[in-house]
């Protein structure tokens, strides 16, 4: 995988207003293939808003998005999914009443034709789910298990599996380790590392310096809705990044 000078995803001059509140102002961001970008910032710095703009959930008030060098306008999450831009939400966005497989394929279920009827292909869902979980080395009892029966870490793993089931090129993760037990954090971080190896660009929003310094290659800080600082991991330190979060350089 070439992480050449051409970024996979680039946001230029993103501005977002909510009424009179300026959530983001002229924010730039880019991520390359096989790279992990960490986005840090205090509560209300605009991290989540930026991610929602990238996933098509919010339309930016100004600014533009470029995907593989071409400008794209995202009207809905479906548009970003079609490009290969996937989001793992902080609240995980899984339907607990549905099995793992049906969650992974929710909204994009494989179907088979029975005469003029288009019916869900449950065998295929199961087959694809098992293959995909194997690929990511995620262990669950069965793809038929309901998500509400899983632990927090398993749910996070399912959410990540879901985001990568359709040839994702960029995966955006909002606080992927926030709700996890300590021993589950490691597994999720391993999962992120193996995603990077497959050439996926990963954006991780996190409060936890441990996460950032374990998986990221580059880190950028938002402060009060603007770009505050950015550096490659090798040329910065924990203390410096923590300072950025608090608005000190």
């Amino acid at each position: 995988m070439s992480s050449s000078s051409n970024p996979l995803l680039e946001a230029k001059g993103i501005t977002k207003y909510f009424g009179t509140i300026t959530a983001l102002e002229n924010v730039n961001l880019k991520v390359h293939a096989g790279e992990c970008l960490g986005v840090v910032g205090d509560n209300g710095a605009g991290k989540s808003t930026l991610m929602k703009v990238l996933s098509g959930l919010y339309k930016p008030s100004a600014g533009s998005l470029f995907f593989q060098g071409k400008e794209k306008i995202l009207e809905s999450p479906r548009d970003s999914q079609n490009l290969g831009l996937e989001m793992v939400y902080q609240d995980l966005a899984l339907a607990g009443n549905l099995p793992i497989g049906e969650n992974i394929f929710l909204g994009r279920e494989p179907t088979k034709n029975l005469g003029f009827l288009k019916l869900l292909d449950f065998n295929k869902i199961k087959e694809l789910t098992n293959a995909h979980l194997d690929k990511l080395k995620i262990n669950v009892k069965s793809a038929d298990q309901k998500v509400e029966e899983l632990s927090g870490g398993q749910r996070q793993a399912v959410a990540i599996a879901r985001s990568t089931a359709f040839n994702a090129k960029v995966v955006i993760m909002d606080e992927p380790t926030a709700a996890l037990a300590i021993k589950e954090v490691g597994k999720v971080l391993d999962l992120i590392n193996s995603l990077k190896k497959t050439g996926v660009g990963v954006i991780v929003i996190s409060h936890r310096m441990d996460d950032i310094f374990t998986v990221c290659d580059r880190v950028m800080a938002l402060f009060q809705g603007t770009n505050f600082a950015e550096a490659s991991l090798s040329s910065t330190s924990r203390d410096e990044v923590i300072g950025w979060i608090m608005g000190k350089k």
């Binding site: 959930l57 809905s76 999450p77 999914q81 966005a93 339907a95 009443n97 549905l98 869900l120």
Partner: protein
């Protein structure tokens, strides 16, 4: 000894999913057995069994509609009024001398449109809860029904219009007696329930209806157009109420102002007894059918035994509470806490 306990325990755990799926049927079978023992000559007679199905025919349509709405974590209080309005429109159109197929189509279209109004109100007007929108339309639709009919009953429909509610399928070719016919409404229940079972369990839209009930944010994040699906669900619920109106027109041969009064509560009760969760995302079509049957058999059995209808109210209420309590207990064992 310990090993044996473990085996029994794991057997219990294996049985739980089946109990979850078919437990309500067990209750139904139990009720049928009890009634049969209490009324051995009458209860399982051809005449009485077909009677039960005829009695639950239109309620089963309302319950199925309300069930779909409940799966999305919504509620539809207006189904009784939708049925009454559709019935009144049918009656007025029939009195105006329209051909039978027009008369038979009108309640279906009217019901569908009423449901569409509910769905659009909930989504476009951003009502804080479907309870409010459908509480409003509960009054609006019944009022409208009385306005167009003048608040008086309108009677007398043709046999074609009455076919679904009143029609009989002769079984003499099977060597049965003339009195042993199959009510058309029973066949209709079976067809409609099978269609909706396939729709909810095997189609994408059906899966999305369950997903919305499980977590609307997950559905939205998956690119599912939640508002569109909700509008479809409420419209179908209205459509089923329209079918209910057509059946009722056949059964009673009359459009009357009190048609379907409080039947929305019966419909909700049937769903709850059948295992649907008010929080959405849970419940089966088979369960709803069992819920409708349980209420129908209870009423029928108590009538056969000449028990006062006041007792019927007390018993049905108790069964609702009991059914949900059993569900609470089951969930305690079944899921991780």
């Amino acid at each position: 000894m310990e090993d044996k306990d473990k085996k029994i325990e794991s057997l219990h755990l294996k049985l739980i999913p089946y109990f979850e799926k078919y437990g309500i049927l067990l209750l139904l079978v139990l009720m049928i057995l009890v009634m049969h023992i209490l009324q051995p000559d009458v209860f399982l007679s051809w005449r009485n069994v077909t009677n039960v199905f005829k009695q639950i025919s239109w309620q089963s349509m309302l319950a199925l509609g309300v069930f779909m709405v409940i799966v999305t974590a919504g509620i539809d209080l207006s189904v009784g009024s939708i049925m009454m309005l559709s019935l009144m429109i049918l009656a007025v159109v029939a009195k105006a001398g329209a051909p039978w197929f027009v008369v038979a189509l009108t309640p279906l279209i009217a019901g569908f449109l009423c449901g569409l109004i509910n769905g659009m109100g909930i989504t476009f007007l951003r009502m804080p809860h479907p309870f409010i929108m459908t509480l409003g339309t509960l009054y609006i639709f019944r009022g409208t029904g009385n306005l167009i009919s003048g608040g008086t009953p309108i009677s007398g429909f043709t046999d074609e219009v009455r076919y679904l509610g009143h029609g009989r399928i002769d079984l003499q070719w099977l060597g049965l007696e003339k009195s042993q016919y199959l009510p058309v409404s029973l066949v209709l229940i079976a067809i409609v329930y099978i269609i909706f079972w396939v729709f909810l369990n095997k189609s994408k839209t059906g899966k999305w209806i369950y997903a919305i009930g499980g977590n609307p944010n997950a559905a939205r994040a998956s690119g599912i157009n939640v508002n569109k699906i909700l509008i479809i669900v409420y419209s179908l619920c209205g459509f089923l109420s329209g079918i209910g109106a057509l059946i009722l027109a056949g059964r009673t041969d009359s459009g009357y102002p009190n048609a379907g009064l409080q039947s929305e509560l019966d419909a909700i009760a049937a769903c709850i007894i059948g295992g649907a969760s008010f929080f959405g995302g849970r419940g089966t079509v088979l369960g709803v059918f069992a819920g409708v049957m349980i209420m129908g058999i209870l009423r029928n059995g108590l009538n056969l035994m000449d028990v006062s209808s006041f007792w019927q109210q007390v018993l049905i209420g108790s069964i609702i509470v009991l059914a949900v309590y059993i569900d609470v207990l089951r969930r305690d064992i079944g899921t991780r806490k």
